[in-house]
């Protein structure tokens, strides 16, 4: 039963990705730089740090999307495992709804400036 629930959550995460994110980042996550950054093999590197985990939740494209905390956590975890399997830290702990809830409320006024501190190449 747990397996079925996990499978269903992953399937719904993919559908929510298509509904809320794929319009700009495209269904395969490659984006359209410089209009839209790619999600492939990029965000997997930055979740190795607490700031990086915090950032991918607080970036406006995530935090302002009309999804519940659990749905957003599922979509972010899906993007990390689907598009970043090569760069994801081996000890990666999936984001939880609680983690999303506490980070999401802190508005990121200047995402680019914030991001440059720990992700200077992008």
């Amino acid at each position: 039963m747990l397996v079925i629930t996990a499978f269903s959550a992953r399937a719904d995460a993919e559908k929510n990705y298509l509904l809320h994110c794929s319009g700009c980042h495209l269904p395969n996550g490659i984006g359209d730089p410089p209009n839209t950054p790619t999600l492939r093999d990029t965000i997997g590197k930055i979740v190795a740090t607490p700031e990086g985990r915090d950032y991918i939740i607080r970036v406006p494209g995530s935090s302002q999307t009309p999804m519940s905390d659990q749905q957003l956590a599922d979509v972010l975890n899906w993007m990390l495992t689907e598009f970043n399997s090569e760069t994801l830290p081996k000890n990666f702990e999936p984001l939880s709804a609680q983690e999303v809830s506490s980070s999401r409320g802190q508005i990121l006024a200047d995402p680019l400036k914030y991001r440059a501190r720990f992700w200077p190449d992008n």
């Binding site: 399937a11 719904d12 298509l18 509904l19 794929s22 319009g23 269904p27 359209d32 209009n35 839209t36």
Partner: protein, 180 residues
């Protein structure tokens, strides 16, 4: 006498040349050869959809009813603009000369055939002046512009060479999540 011989030789050359050419033509355009090539072409066409080409919309074989040139068509439940089907395009392809925007917004519409919700990608076709045929304004589950990624009021000509709006297509991305 000499003249007759020359004519005979000419006829003989003409006969031989015509015969050779006819046989060559017959070898290269036999009915069996034609049928064989036609068969190969038909088989090739049948396998064409299986080739690994880019297909942005995955669910184009689902059962549908309605007129794609009408604003009431189920896929257009949140489309605001002009229907590309009235402007020389299809539900998923732009009219000739217009460029499809890779950046778009995705909504959800219910298919009356199976009563299921599907994810619909509303891609704008850009680079030509606005097509004035079949204007359409539907707003099902569309949100105000302060949710720009869910708004059909935004002109989605991003990532295209020219930004002027021509019309909008509505491709099916797949079945929507159960809790939508």
């Amino acid at each position: 006498m000499k003249k007759d011989s020359l004519i005979d030789k000419s006829y003989a050359w003409l006969d031989r040349h015509t015969g050779d050419s006819s046989r060559q033509l017959a070898r290269s355009t036999s009915r069996r050869g034609f049928i064989g090539k036609l068969g190969a072409m038909l088989a090739g066409v049948a396998f064409l959809p299986l080739l690994p080409v880019s297909r942005p919309f995955a669910q184009e074989t689902l059962g549908e009813i309605g007129d794609p040139q009408s604003c009431d068509y189920w896929r257009y439940c949140a489309l605001s603009g002009t229907l590309c089907t009235c402007c020389g395009g299809t539900t998923t392809s732009c009219p000739p000369g217009a460029e499809i925007s890779p950046i778009t917004w995705v909504g959800t519409c219910r298919n009356p055939v199976d009563d299921m919700d599907y994810l619909i990608s509303y891609n704008d076709c850009c680079g030509k002046s606005t097509c004035r045929r079949c204007s359409c304004h539907n707003t099902e589950r569309e949100l105000p512009v302060y949710y720009p990624s869910k708004s059909n009021s935004v002109l989605w000509c991003f990532g295209t060479e020219a930004r002027n709006y021509h019309c909008t297509v509505a491709g099916v991305l797949g079945v929507a999540a159960t809790d939508d």
